[in-house]
């Protein structure tokens, strides 16, 4: 049986990846709202996903405010697909 990817097998990181798999890109505020998480916690988990190479985080400006946007990478996409396959095998789906 395949082992579940420890980077993805945690609540907030999996929530973020599930969202990013369904959109082209999403900003920090959108992710915070959809995952109902705190800014600090989300920031830490985004860093972990980024370090693993699963997402790219781009910091830019929207007028005078900073805007952080996230996008899933090809590596992240493959990891997520493998994770779902592993889940299916665990649950005999």
């Amino acid at each position: 049986m395949k082992e579940l990817d420890p980077i993805l097998h945690s609540q907030l990181r999996l929530a973020v990846m599930s969202i990013l798999m369904n959109v082209e890109e999403a900003d920090f505020v959108y992710l915070k709202e959809k995952t109902e998480s705190t800014a600090g916690n989300l920031s830490v988990q985004l860093d972990k996903l980024s370090t693993a190479g699963y997402i790219t985080v781009t910091k830019g400006f929207a007028g005078k405010k900073t805007r952080t946007t996230c996008q899933v990478t090809e590596l992240g996409r493959k990891a997520f697909e493998q994770y779902v396959e592993a889940l299916k095998s665990y649950l005999n789906l």
């Binding site: 579940l4 609540q11 929530a15 599930s18 959809k34 995952t35 109902e36 998480s37």
Partner: protein
């Protein structure tokens, strides 16, 4: 949401919940469509009034106001809309690419019309009506199919019918008279842009 380890079943449930939440996304606003719609209708009305009053074809230069004003306002408005939604979906990307192709084609068509016009073939500008009433409705219908919005499909279909009629008139060397063709052009843009724009804004207000 706290950071915790999950069971396999919880993981699957979480993925499903998040996918559903991305589907509940902001529908967007119809302001860009309304801007193009009202701009096209107002300019067509102005050209019509001035042509009827003065019989001077120089007023046809007013048509360029559509491209200039719309071309400047669209990127500013779409940036604002993107910031408001917080996420860019795949359908947003496809829609944006469709309209980019329409914009580039409009520039190329204008360029060709200028070249032909400099060679003395001023009638070539009629082709821009066919362009506006064939390419734009096709793009709008494609957008309607991608985002599953019926008002885009119906509005585009009305515009396309008028566009096909315009092409037939041009092919048959029938002059596009200002008194009957410009009202048809305005009806086409009202159906293609103004009505769907208000429909989208109404849906967005309901979503809030």
């Amino acid at each position: 949401m706290e950071e915790k380890k999950l069971t396999e079943r919880e993981s699957l449930e979480l993925i499903t919940t998040m996918i559903n939440r991305t589907r509940e996304r902001y529908i967007g606003d119809g302001n860009i469509m309304l801007m193009w719609g009202y701009l096209s209708v107002v300019v067509a009305a102005l050209v019509w009034i001035m042509l009827v009053k003065t019989h001077n074809p120089v007023w046809n230069w007013l048509w360029f106001a559509i491209g200039v004003v719309g071309g400047i306002a669209t990127p500013i408005m779409s940036k604002k809309s993107e910031l408001k939604s917080g996420a860019k979906s795949y359908s947003d990307k496809i829609t944006s690419q469709i309209w980019t192709v329409v914009g580039i084609s409009a520039l190329v068509a204008t360029l060709f019309c200028f070249v032909f016009s400099f060679m003395g073939m001023h009638n070539v500008w009629r082709m821009m009506f066919a362009f506006a009433l064939i390419i734009v409705p096709m793009a709008e219908m494609a957008q309607g199919i991608v985002v599953k919005e019926k008002s885009f499909i119906f509005g585009g279909a009305v515009g396309l019918c008028i566009g096909i009629f315009a092409v037939c008139c041009i092919a048959a060397d029938m002059p596009l008279g200002a008194n009957w063709f410009l009202p048809m052009y305005m009806i086409a843009f009202a159906c293609m842009m103004i009505i769907p724009g208000h429909v989208i804004n109404h849906k967005a207000r309901q979503q809030r």
